[in-house]
């Protein structure tokens, strides 16, 4: 089973949930797909055994064959190519590596070369198999790195994916093809606003999901009311606690310091696995 942990708003506790859930279970793979700022490793302190570079194909123009017709520029959906004065200008940081320019060039003047955009690292922390991706600084294209991490999914294990925040391509790449999405939120106006956006995304992808309310005794009741109204199960509540904040700040896990939480996370997993309170997809 593949469970992804996402949220609309950043800083709600995705990593805390992903890490502690992974540490509470056996036969687990933890994948940190927040490749713009991965941080699961801070908490589980893995030993890395392998490191791979992630490439995307970017166009390279053979000026002898190119007549400056501009077809490549017309086809590029990402504005990564300009053709002025019959000269092709390429902006690799905007290229998504789709290959359209090379495919449609009438003169075969474009070939693709690899540009490295990040790395993935594979390792272990105790019994947990851990993989994360790191997007190179200055790069904007995180989905290829996320896909490279997800290539290592082992379906014989319980797979926990820590997704990036937001509602755009990186999140969709991370949660797509997972069996369940945990949306972590906090009961604040910001938290609720971004939760409702994330719910729209997950419903569009038709993935069963539920909500964890972190710092649940802060803010207001609107998040609860929203979940009831929308028929969304609340899977777990974690109160705002100085103790948990301290554990987090030290880079420790909740379940090792507060062992009662281990059972909570195990119950959370069992409930998800048995489909208890699963949202019926409308």
């Amino acid at each position: 089973m593949i469970i992804s942990v996402a949220s609309g708003k950043g800083g709600t506790g995705k990593t805390t949930i992903a890490v502690n859930l992974a540490l509470s279970l056996s036969n687990v793979q933890l994948l940190d797909c927040d490749v713009e700022e991965p941080n699961c490793h801070i908490f589980i302190k893995p030993v890395f055994e392998n490191k791979n570079t992630v490439f995307i194909p970017i166009p390279q123009v053979d000026s002898k064959k190119c007549d400056g017709c501009g077809r490549c520029q017309e086809f590029c959906a990402y504005n990564a190519i300009a053709v002025v004065n019959k000269e092709v200008l390429i902006f690799p940081e905007l290229c998504h590596g789709c290959g359209s320019c090379a495919y449609f060039c009438p003169h075969g003047a474009i070939k693709e070369t690899n540009k490295d955009i990040g790395i993935i690292e594979i390792g272990k922390s105790g019994e947990i198999q851990f993989i994360h991706g790191k997007l190179n600084i200055g790069m904007m294209m995180s989905p290829p790195v996320i896909r490279a991490v997800k290539k290592h999914i082992n379906k014989k294990k319980t797979v926990i994916i820590d997704a990036p925040p937001g509602t755009s391509c990186p999140v969709i790449t991370a949660i797509n093809d997972t069996d369940f999405v945990i949306l972590v939120t906090e009961p604040t106006p910001f938290g609720l606003n971004d939760l409702s956006l994330a719910v729209e995304v997950v419903r569009k992808l038709k993935i069963p999901f539920g909500v964890i309310i972190n710092r649940s005794d802060l803010g207001n009741k609107k998040t609860d009311e929203y979940c009831v109204r929308e028929n969304i199960p609340i899977l777990m509540r974690i109160p705002f606690s100085k103790k948990i904040a301290e554990i987090y700040s030290r880079g420790d896990s909740i379940i090792e310091t507060l062992p009662e939480y281990r059972e909570n996370f195990q119950r959370l997993f069992e409930n998800i696995k048995q489909g208890k309170n699963w949202l019926r997809i409308k």
């Binding site: 520029q73 504005n79 300009a82 002025v84 200008l89 904007m140």
Partner: protein
């Protein structure tokens, strides 16, 4: 000589928009005839690369100079390759900017004066 001015609206009374790639309109002004037309900037809502696409469109219109508030590195690269002169730092009305340009009060810009994504309103 055809000059493109980044504009907040479609008339000469509109103000110069400080963003090159994401301004709502371009006023294309002909310095010989004094005529102009307003072109909607289709790149203003582009997901990425607005400056590149805008510079491509300006170049396709055979414009020889651009008057704007700021220009980023990608747009600068395209405009330079297209041999289009850039005059940045303009403010106030389009009409006023044209007058200043005619009097030679603007200095040609030697390089990009803002980072990428300036026009997306983030600080």
């Amino acid at each position: 000589m055809k000059v493109a001015i980044t504009s907040s609206g479609a008339t000469l009374q509109s103000n110069v928009d400080p963003r090159f790639g994401r301004c709502p309109y371009y006023i294309i002004y002909d310095t010989e005839s004094g005529s102009f037309k307003a072109i909607e900037n289709k790149s203003s809502l582009a997901g990425g690369g607005a400056g590149i696409q805008a510079a491509q469109n300006i170049s396709d219109m055979k414009v020889e100079a651009v008057i704007t508030g700021n220009v980023g590195p990608n747009a600068f690269r395209v405009l330079s390759a297209a041999s289009i002169k850039i005059y940045s730092g303009a403010t106030g009305s389009i009409k006023g900017a044209i007058e200043k340009f005619k009097k030679g009060e603007y200095k040609e810009t030697a390089g990009p004066d803002v980072e990428s994504h300036f026009g997306m309103g983030r600080k």
